[in-house]
């Protein structure tokens, strides 16, 4: 399960809006995916945009929840409640074995 080049660290920021249904779903879905595929080699920061509205402007947020993958490689943006696992993995460029 997810062996291979395990040394790369995934830096991710998840922007949510308080405890809205979408946000809570997104947090739990993402955590599940991360635990499953990126265990031990990811940094996930969860930001409540309600608390820091200025971030919304800085990060060009519109649709929420949004996940921004800062590293490795190109910056990548994913929106939604992360329920579509395939798309999340594709978006994060994780080569999953059992899709």
């Amino acid at each position: 399960m997810g062996e291979g080049n395990r040394k790369t660290v995934y830096v991710m920021r998840l922007f949510v809006t308080g405890a809205s249904p979408n946000s809570t779903r997104a947090i739990s879905n993402l955590k599940k995916i991360c635990e499953e595929y990126l265990k031990g080699c990811y940094e996930l920061e969860i930001i409540d945009v309600y608390q820091q509205p200025i971030v919304a402007m800085e990060e060009q947020l519109i649709a929420l929840p949004m996940l921004i993958k800062k590293a490795p490689g190109m910056e990548k943006r994913l929106i939604g409640d992360m329920s579509d696992k395939r798309r999340v993995l594709k978006g994060l460029e994780i080569n999953a074995v059992n899709l």
Binding site: F15, T17, S20, N22, R25, A26, N29, V49, Y50, P53, I54, A56, M57, Q60, L61, I62, A63, L64, P65, M66, L67, K76, R77, L78, I79, G80, D81, M82, S83, D84, R87, V88, K90, G91
Partner: protein
């Protein structure tokens, strides 16, 4: 537009009960909407690309911030902030400065589908948070979303998007901000994505049409819930001061009129109009064939107005101002003087520069800015080249209407292409104007002279005589034409007639002089005769007197002698009186 405004004001007061309005500050738009956009509600401005949606919405925000102390938020989905600032800088808006002063807040929303993958349910809370943050930072009363439809390009899930947009507009209403949402015109629909479904309070449609290679911007209020509004298409103009919408003034004929007169600048011409000149606030048409001096009359009028210390706005559609000033120097009119003092302003533009409506808007704008007492349009003929006769007539009706409301006197000049009086341009316009002057060539004896007729002049006694119109080094003058046996005489024929009459007078004078001299001579002859007769009479008289004196003398001597004789005799007798004869002798 003062009377008009007052009326509108009253209407507004009534409407205050129903719907409150936020003045847009855009010249003319508030007249058309009867006070502005619906307060606290979103308004949709839709139109094709380049129809001026962004300009109009940005002006709404800037005017709000600068004139009505209502800060605003611009959320732009198309142009980056520096781009937008640069674009509206051409209208004289300094977005950066306004932002720095916390009067407005500009937020650029970037969204591109390629950079985003969707992984499930989402909402537009990010947009809401940003908007709220921006509104709170500047305490905004006005919001512009330009063009929110771009979200449809960036996000795939249209169902979510539509639900969120509906939520957004409700949210905006709850916030109590007056918002403008722009939308691109779609096929058969007002907007490409049907935004009109959500924004139902006020919809303004902008249009940019090109007809005969001349473009005209137009604006129409498609809907304005709960308010009366103009339903026409109104032309508008974007220039270096922003947007100007031209309200088509109502064609009600209930204008105030004055019986105050304004001189034409030519005293002898004022005489033709009852001695006082035109009515203030009236309209005057001068028509004539080429080279009959229409511009000279117009500029003389302008000169007279300026010399009275009033303002005159001169629209030159054929000649550049410098050329007019130079040319008029030859008839002793120094217009540059008035230009320097700021009483006279020239606005020169080719009629073909833009459409009729745009001309009207441009004229309207200049008049609003300069506030003249007199407006001159020289000439109106070329407008026919950019519009049909009825269109030109319509435009002039509106212009005259507007000017009459403002109590501004207007003078048009029109070129007659043929020599007949029934020129189509004249026909179209002449029924609208209050005074119509015709300058006509009178051709006789191998020369061409100008005759001036007053075709009509409402409400005043005016001469029915043809006057000869003379342009000299000293200016313009009207001269009574000579009526000879062959009709009226002008030019050198008139001069000849005058010389002839002068000769006659000289000859008569000469004859009279000769007779006078003869009488004098006769008198002299007779007087000398009388003198000689007098002398003769005197000598006869003297003669006669001499006889008398001699007689007297003789008488005396005789008496003396007699006395002497007596004395001698007496002394002989008594010798007592010897003294007496001694005394006598």
């Amino acid at each position: 537009m003062k009377p008009d405004n007052n009326k509108k004001q009253k209407k507004d007061d009534k409407k205050q009960l129903g719907l409150q309005k936020t003045p847009s500050g855009i010249s003319g738009l508030d007249e058309v909407t009867g006070g502005g956009l619906p307060k606290g509600r979103p308004t949709l401005i839709c139109g094709e690309a380049g129809s001026g949606k962004t300009m109009m919405s940005v002006e709404f925000i800037v005017r709000g911030a600068t004139q009505f102390a209502e800060p605003g938020v611009i959320m732009t989905f198309e142009e980056r902030v520096p781009e937008l600032a640069l674009n509206v800088a051409s209208l004289g808006f300094d977005l950066e400065k306004l932002q720095a002063n916390k009067k407005i807040k500009v937020d650029y929303v970037h969204i591109a589908r390629t950079e985003i993958s969707e992984t499930g349910e989402y909402d537009l809370d990010g947009l809401f948070i940003r908007l709220e943050y921006a509104i709170n930072t500047v305490k905004a009363k006005r919001v512009v979303l330009d063009t929110i439809e771009n979200l449809f390009g960036g996000l795939a899930n249209e169902a979510i998007l539509r639900a969120e947009l509906r939520r957004l507009f409700t949210w905006l209403k709850d916030k109590g901000v007056t918002a403008i949402i722009t939308g691109e015109r779609g096929d058969g629909k007002l907007t490409r994505h049907g935004l009109e479904e959500y924004v139902s309070d006020c919809v303004i449609l902008l249009d940019h049409r090109v007809l005969n290679q001349i473009s005209t911007r137009r604006l129409r209020i498609v809907k304005y819930r709960g308010s009366l509004h103009g339903t026409n298409e109104y032309p508008f103009l974007i220039d270096n001061d922003g947007i100007v919408v031209l309200p088509v003034t109502s064609l009600e004929l209930d204008k105030e009129v004055t019986s105050e007169r304004i001189s034409s600048g030519i005293p002898s011409f004022d005489e033709m109009l009852g001695g006082k000149g035109f009515f203030r606030g009236g309209s005057i048409l001068i028509s004539g064939t080429a080279g009959t001096g229409k511009t000279s009359i117009a500029t003389t009028f302008a000169d007279g107005v300026c010399r009275n210390g009033e303002r005159c706005l001169y629209f030159a559609f054929e000649e550049p101002p410098q050329q007019i000033i130079r040319n008029m120097r030859s008839i002793n009119l120094h217009l540059d003087k008035h230009v320097k003092t700021g009483l006279l302003k020239f606005c020169a533009a080719r009629p073909t520069l833009y459409g009729l409506e745009m001309h009207l808007v441009a004229i309207y704008k200049e008049i609003q800015k300069f506030k003249p007492a007199v407006v001159i349009l020289d000439p109106i003929t070329n407008f026919a080249s950019i519009g049909s006769l009825s269109e030109v007539k319509n435009m002039l009706i509106r212009l005259i209407d507007f000017l009459q409301n403002e109590q501004i006197t207007v003078m048009f000049t029109a070129l007659n292409l043929n020599d007949s009086l029934r020129d189509p341009t004249d026909e179209a316009v002449s029924s609208l104007v209050d005074s119509w002057l015709l300058v006509k060539d009178i051709e006789a004896n191998g020369e061409r002279n100008r005759g001036l007729y007053v075709m009509k002049s409402r409400g005043m006694k005016h001469s029915n005589q043809v006057r000869e119109f003379v342009i000299s080094d000293d200016g313009l003058e009207l001269i009574n034409v000579y009526v000879g046996p062959d009709g009226i005489l002008t030019g050198s024929a008139r001069e000849a007639q005058m010389i002839q009459e002068e000769t006659g007078i000289a000859i008569r004078n000469y004859t009279l002089n000769r007779k006078d001299r003869e009488i004098m001579r006769k008198r002299q002859v007779l007087e000398s005769k009388i003198a000689s007769l007098n002398a003769e009479f005197e000598s006869v008289e003297e003669e006669l007197n001499k006889v008398y004196e001699e007689e007297e003398l003789r008488k005396q001597i005789l008496n003396k002698n007699r006395e002497t004789m007596q004395n001698i005799r007496l002394s002989g007798e008594k010798n007592s009186k010897p003294k007496k004869p001694q005394n006598d002798s």
